[in-house]
């Protein structure tokens, strides 16, 4: 059973920088867990502590039932795919993949079999005798993955493996990685700053910021029920629209310039306070006729993408984006009325930014 349990994990550097703060995480056997967040949020540091490449300041990491805090990397039965691939430049692809097995004194036939199998899975059998510098970026990345596969580890660790690939290749490799995970059925921890990768690859996703976990959940959970403004704005592209609103003293209306709406029942106790309203671009529809929950505004910029159209406008004093069907015929500077389903409105406390 290859679970990974992280309890109260902290990392403080010598210069005082507190990179990882009290992280608690339970990764289930065979789960594909994604750590996502902006640069500097602590996701890579956490991964490296699981790998044994960084010393733990406080807290505990278990792989399976074993506490691995003081175990050197080679004794943890893990494999890692590095962002820059870290292929040994002077060794052939075969030797790169075989190195880990050779270090552990596996018999020659076993090494040969495992490398061949991995190469077959990844489609790189023809490259086995080449050196890394003779390979393209995508091929190098496969070799890096192959090197991890041959070890049959308990846990796979991925450190932003796709960020050095061009956009098209990245999409391709994403699908392949997902297919690979289903086939290999091994626990995996994957770090990325790209929320699209997180959403498409993860069984569950951990959003981090400034060393703290913001929310853990299945992708759709994070999308539909973000725990705070940061998660709401981080997941989904184009990002969720935010407007600051002031609630009337009786708690029934929330408004700002040009915008006024009814406060839902459950939030009527927030009279006199300030709220942040969040609504996703895809939740804004062109209103038909006389909808009560709507507002009128003038479109600034129209961005036709072929499969959809993005309308940029201002409402409630803030810039916003709406995502509409490609058939919609609206031109810049035209006046438009938008409608929103009340169920698709998100409210956040203006100070703590927590979801309400």
């Amino acid at each position: 059973m290859a679970t990974v349990t992280i309890r109260d994990l902290n990392k403080k550097y010598d210069n005082g920088f507190h990179a990882v703060k009290d992280v608690n995480l339970e990764i289930r056997d065979k789960e594909f867990m994604v750590l996502v967040g902006p640069s500097g949020c602590g996701k890579t540091t956490t991964l490296r502590m699981v790998a044994g490449l960084e010393e733990i300041t406080s807290g505990e990491i278990r792989i399976g039932t074993e506490v691995v805090n003081d175990l050197p990397p080679m004794d943890r039965n893990i494999a890692m795919v590095f962002q820059n691939y870290a292929l040994y430049p002077h060794k052939t692809v075969f030797d790169n993949m075989a190195f880990g097995l050779q270090m552990r004194k596996y018999p020659k036939e076993e090494v040969l079999k495992r490398v061949k199998d991995a190469a077959d899975i990844l489609g790189i059998e023809s490259l086995l005798e080449r050196k890394p510098r003779q390979l393209s970026g995508g091929q190098r990345q496969r070799v890096a993955v192959g090197r991890a596969i041959v070890r049959h580890p308990q846990v796979f660790l991925f450190d932003e493996p796709l960020s050095n690939l061009d956009a098209k290749l990245r999409v391709q490799m994403r699908v392949e990685l997902k297919r690979l995970h289903e086939r290999l059925e091994t626990t995996a921890i994957y770090v990325t700053h790209d929320q699209v990768e997180a959403m498409t690859l993860g069984d569950r996703v951990v959003v981090m910021k400034d060393g703290l976990i913001q929310q853990i959940g299945a992708p759709l959970e994070l999308y539909g029920n973000p725990a705070n403004k940061f998660v709401a704005g981080f997941i989904g592209s184009p990002a969720m629209n935010f407007v600051n609103l002031a609630v009337s003293s009786d708690g029934r209306w929330a408004e700002t310039e040009g915008l006024r709406l009814q406060v839902p029942e459950r939030l009527r106790s927030h009279g006199g306070k300030r709220l942040t309203l969040g609504v996703r671009p895809e939740a804004l529809q062109i209103a038909n006729g006389t909808d009560q929950h709507g507002f009128t505004t003038t479109v600034d910029v129209v961005e036709p993408l072929g499969n959809e159209i993005l309308l940029n406008f201002r409402a409630g004093g803030a810039p916003m984006v709406a995502r509409v069907d490609p058939g919609v015929r609206i031109k810049a500077h035209e006046s438009v009325r938008f409608a929103v389903e009340p169920g698709r409105l998100h409210f956040f406390d203006a100070e703590s930014e927590a979801a309400l």
Binding site: A86, Y88, P89, H90, F99, G100
Partner: protein, 314 residues
């Protein structure tokens, strides 16, 4: 109407012609290159190329201090090859160069690996480790000579009080011991050069590779042997060649440490050439002795260039 006017416009003053010719000259790559290279090349030709040819000429004559001598062909060379002291000096030089280079490489590499880690006081330690290389060889060689002194040696004192010896070690008074002492001092002096240069090479190796190897199950020695050493080979080669050139033609250290003694048993080619050429005034013979160094140096460099080229193409 227009004719005379046009003619006037095209006519530049003499001054303007002169200036434009000068600027064109300075613009010309060839002329500028020649001007820039002239002073350096002049010094090198006058004080290296010309004396080198002279040395070749001297070695073929019986020139001495005070008399011009006459052409003797390769007599000086054959005399040298039959001279037992020279044979000893040649053997000494090879011995000295070989062992000093081996120790400098091993210790320098070890030190570089140690310095490649992060620790407090790293800057100060790194800076002070270079001191043996910075301080004039003659001065530190004297300090070592004092440390080896037969009557007052601090090392004898230390070993005696540690209970390891009962009678003094004949550091510089026996030919064999003295050569090893010279190797020790040369190693002491040259190791920092290896260490600092190899350290710079180490820092070009991405830490990712060591981490990947650690994850792959390689312990520290395996990581060194399979990852670090192959990637450092080019730098190592260059450093070794530089060092071999310097050590093979070394003069100062033996001159101060033993003067070539006891009984001419610790001479290097360079010190013996000095003794014959300047000490005894036999310039022709001295020049011939020195020239024996040149082919060896040339061969070493040639081998290095071939090796490097082969590695580039691999």
């Amino acid at each position: 109407m227009g004719g005379g006017r046009a003619g006037q416009d095209l006519h530049l003053s003499a001054e303007q012609v002169r200036v434009s010719r000068l600027t064109r000259l300075l613009e010309s790559e060839k002329a500028l290159a020649a001007a820039l290279l002239a002073p350096g090349v002049a010094i090198l030709v006058l004080f290296i190329a010309y004396p080198f040819v002279m040395a070749l000429w001297y070695s073929l004559t019986s020139i001495r201090v005070g008399e011009a001598g006459e052409f003797v062909g390769v007599a000086n060379f054959t005399k040298a090859m039959n001279d037992s002291i020279f044979q000893q000096a040649f053997r000494n030089t090879v011995f000295y160069t070989f062992w000093a280079t081996v120790f400098k490489l091993a210790l320098g590499m070890w030190l570089a690996l140690l310095l490649n880690r992060h620790f407090r006081l790293k800057r100060i330690v790194r800076a002070s480790m270079l001191l043996p290389f910075i301080i004039p060889t003659v001065l530190s060689a004297f300090a070592w000579r004092w440390m080896f002194d037969p009557t007052f040696s601090v090392m004898n004192w230390g070993l005696y009080h540690a209970g390891m010896i009962t009678d003094r070690l004949p550091f510089l008074s026996s030919g064999d011991w003295a050569m090893w002492c010279a190797v020790l001092v040369n190693t002491w002096r040259g190791m920092p050069f290896f260490a600092i240069t190899l350290l710079a090479g180490l820092q070009t190796i991405s830490p990712d590779l060591h981490e990947a190897a650690a994850l792959d199950g390689a312990n520290a020695w395996h990581r060194f042997w399979h990852v670090t050493w192959p990637l450092l080979l080019p730098v190592t080669l260059v450093v070794v060649v530089f060092s071999v050139i310097q050590t093979f033609s070394d003069f100062q250290l033996i001159y101060v440490l033993t003067g070539g003694g006891p009984a001419n048993s610790t001479h290097l080619i360079a010190t013996y050439a000095y003794q014959i050429g300047v000490g005894s005034g036999l310039l022709g013979e001295g020049a011939a002795l020195s020239l024996f160094m040149f082919p060896v140096l040339f061969a070493v460099v040639w081998v290095q260039l071939r090796f490097l080229k082969r590695m580039d193409n691999a």
